[in-house]
């Protein structure tokens, strides 16, 4: 035991030296991670955020953008609140980042969880995700106008499927209900992929799936896109033919979803810059560009004060929509 103990002491001494050494290197140049970075996903496996994080992490490895790997960890409890609160609690820890979607705004507003995006350090916006109004290809509705007119005649008869409750899909549903004076029965499902399959199986009448969630069913001729819920058409070869909401119905509706990165609160400027830089390089790789166009995303890299400004506007807009739709926590 005696011997083991002194061995431990030596080992400890060595470790301390090593630690000091690493710290001194670290301060000499720009900051770099000294241990694996936890890459938190506030959603379950298989969703859009999950797929994106699992796509980014090998890119970082392939292009050697970071000396330490990014380890993807799902913390999906409470519609993502678990993951957000986890990162919030990692004050000044530079080895934790989180990929976010709009539940950054909606989950705290809908559940009253003590969290706001200002609790985190914004890194960058990677992309924006479109929403498209889909119906089954065998349904008689060829345009958004036809579909909405039909829905207007029978309030509550038409079923709109979406991901989660009081999240973006339901916000958009409420937005459409108010703009066109219709009433849908909204049915929440676990993930966007499930919603698309329910629509193919004709269990629901329509969905507002993201392009990526429905694209393969569309190409297989099972779903029909009626309108893009944005001011402009999607500027990608396959998607150009889909009219905007305004072209299809005369009512200009728009909702885009954030795909962004945040880090733990209280980290230094150098640490923040490191991640901004990594993410910027990720978005410049050919793999990312292909991913964006395959997934029907809007390339929209943004960082620094512009990003913060955009977040503020987006939060305000989301809150407004939720208040109007009665989706806030009572």
């Amino acid at each position: 035991m005696e011997r083991a103990f002194s061995g431990l002491k030596i080992a400890l001494g060595l470790v301390c030296c090593l630690a000091l050494f690493i710290v001194s290197i670290g301060t000499a140049g720009a900051w770099e991670p000294t241990k694996p970075v936890e890459f938190i996903i506030p959603a379950g496996t298989g969703g859009g955020a999950d797929v994106m994080a699992r796509f980014i992490s090998p890119i970082i490895e392939k292009y050697k953008l970071s000396p330490k790997p990014f380890i993807v960890i799902n913390k999906s409890g409470g519609a993502g609140a678990e993951g957000m609160l986890y990162v919030k609690g990692k004050n000044k820890d530079p080895h934790v980042i989180i990929i976010t979607l709009d539940n950054l705004f909606t989950t705290p507003a809908a559940t009253g969880v003590p969290f706001n995006w200002k609790d985190l350090t914004p890194i960058s916006r990677l992309a924006l995700d479109y929403f498209v109004l889909w119906v089954n290809a065998e349904s008689p509705y060829k345009t958004a106008k036809e579909y909405l007119d039909a829905a207007k005649k029978e309030p509550g008869k038409f079923i709109m499927g979406g991901t989660g409750t009081a999240q973006e899909d339901q916000i958009i549903t409420v937005m459409m209900e108010q703009a066109f004076g219709v009433k849908f029965s909204y049915v929440p499902f676990k993930g966007g992929g499930d919603v698309a399959v329910e629509l193919v199986g004709k269990h629901i009448n329509s969905s507002v799936n993201n392009p990526a969630e429905a694209v393969s069913h569309w190409k297989a001729g099972r779903l029909r896109p009626l309108a893009v819920i944005d001011h402009e058409r999607i500027n990608l070869p396959d998607w150009k033919g889909i009219p905007t909401m305004k072209e299809a119905t005369g009512n200009d509706l728009s909702y885009l979803m954030l795909r962004g990165i945040f880090a733990a609160p209280g980290i230094t400027k150098e640490q923040q810059d490191f991640y901004v830089n990594v993410m910027k390089k990720v978005t410049e790789t050919p793999e990312w560009k292909k991913y964006i166009s395959d997934m029907g995303l809007k390339a929209a890299f943004l960082s620094g004060p512009e990003y913060v400004k955009w977040l503020e506007d987006k939060e305000k807009m989301t809150k407004d929509l939720m208040t109007k739709g009665g989706l806030l926590k009572k």
Partner: protein, 500 residues
Amino acid sequence: MEDINNLIMGLGVALQSYNIMIAVIGLVLGIIVGVLPGLGGANGVAILIPVVVSMPATTGVILLSSIYWGALYGGSITSILFNIPGEPWSVATTFDGYPMAKSGRAGKALVLAFLSHGAGAVLGVIMLTFFAPLIAEFALKFGPAEIFAVMILTFSAFVGLGGKSPLKTVASIFFGFTLAAVGMDIVSGQLRMTFGSVDLMGGFSFIVAVIGLFGLGEIFLTVEEGLKVEGIKAKVGLKDMREGLKEILQNPKAVIMGALIGCWMGLKPGGATPASFMAYGFCKQSCKNKDEFGKGASPGIIAPEAAAHGAGTSATLPMITLGIPGSPTMAVIMGGLMIFGLQPGPMLFKEHADFVWGLIASCWVGNFIGLFIVMAFAPLFAAILKIRFAIFMPIIVYVCAIGAYAVNNRMIDVYYMIIFGILGYLFKKLDYPLAPMVLALVLGDMAEQAMRQALIMGQGNPLIFFRPPIALPIMIVALIIFFWPLISTVKQKLMTKNAV
């Protein structure tokens, strides 16, 4: 005929020596992650994605899917040896697998489990090869109402599985459902029974509960009988192999029932776990020697294992044909496909037929090689039980703690595990049955969600659960099985009356 040609072409690719080597590596890795509780195929696949990126697409997918097959085989090993299920769908295997191992027949139990896996795989792969598009169409017919009917069917299969005291059986079912309800209610978006605690927001993980209730609880029961210095006598030899093979052939009903239920249930995401429970329940109810179940009956191992692997195999079908992952592992594999620029979904068959057929062929190859690997190592696995208890017990506790932590990366889960361990011990002592409680915990969420989704669709009208063509027959069968004890007594009474 075209399918056969395609398959032969695919087999040509999968049987290249390089690809076979890759498959073996993947299988061994998969077995390792399957054995360790808390690690699943998803972890194994995730670490290899960076490696896979630099491979040709077909080879890469062979590697990823081999991990998946390996994890399916590995999941049952710990269920049988330590009463700790490595994966959720191996829970039903503990009911008979562990008692059999405890009585010294660990080798036989393992051989039975592996062979049943093989049988489930064969049926699954045949379906995958020849009926994929057809089955995908069938899977699409399952909406929330149909899912709910299936859940009821699963529960009804378990009616006969209660303990000595019906009252305590009901109490433990309620308790299981209650645990399942903690956390976010997805239909209303409200937090339930969290009382403002962040730790409760994530709910109770099924794996954590099972590790505690079954694994730790069993350790307490074992030490209670006096600290065993010697391990369980585990004779393993060719005799076990022979006997295992014989028993499989003697129980064709259990094999076929398990494999069919598995292949059918695997079509829907998360189907493997209910499939294994359902197969166990039905097999028990339809077998003559009901009383032997729970004490190490062979059909009690065969049916759930065949179902689990059948479901695991048919779960690849919705991914390839519809683009919905049937399990977290499948979700990660799907992410891998996208790196190759392959978009899973209905177009995959048309645009990348060579790739799809390579994948299907690798299912054949991977499952057969996997079966050989696990069979070859079965004696080695069984020999673990020979280790002295004082060495092996703390290691098990340690691995359990890792497993409980790794499920959600939360320390609180490790404490839950200890609490569940104590509860498991007390419940067992006081005749609260664990099996129905665990079933309620794993299916409670799914059942409630499906029911409420269906009710919104039916505008509050419960008749939606009886809509033809699929929900109605399932529901009727479920109700008949549920009330079978009652029906049969009534029938008997009528018979005696007539006789008089």
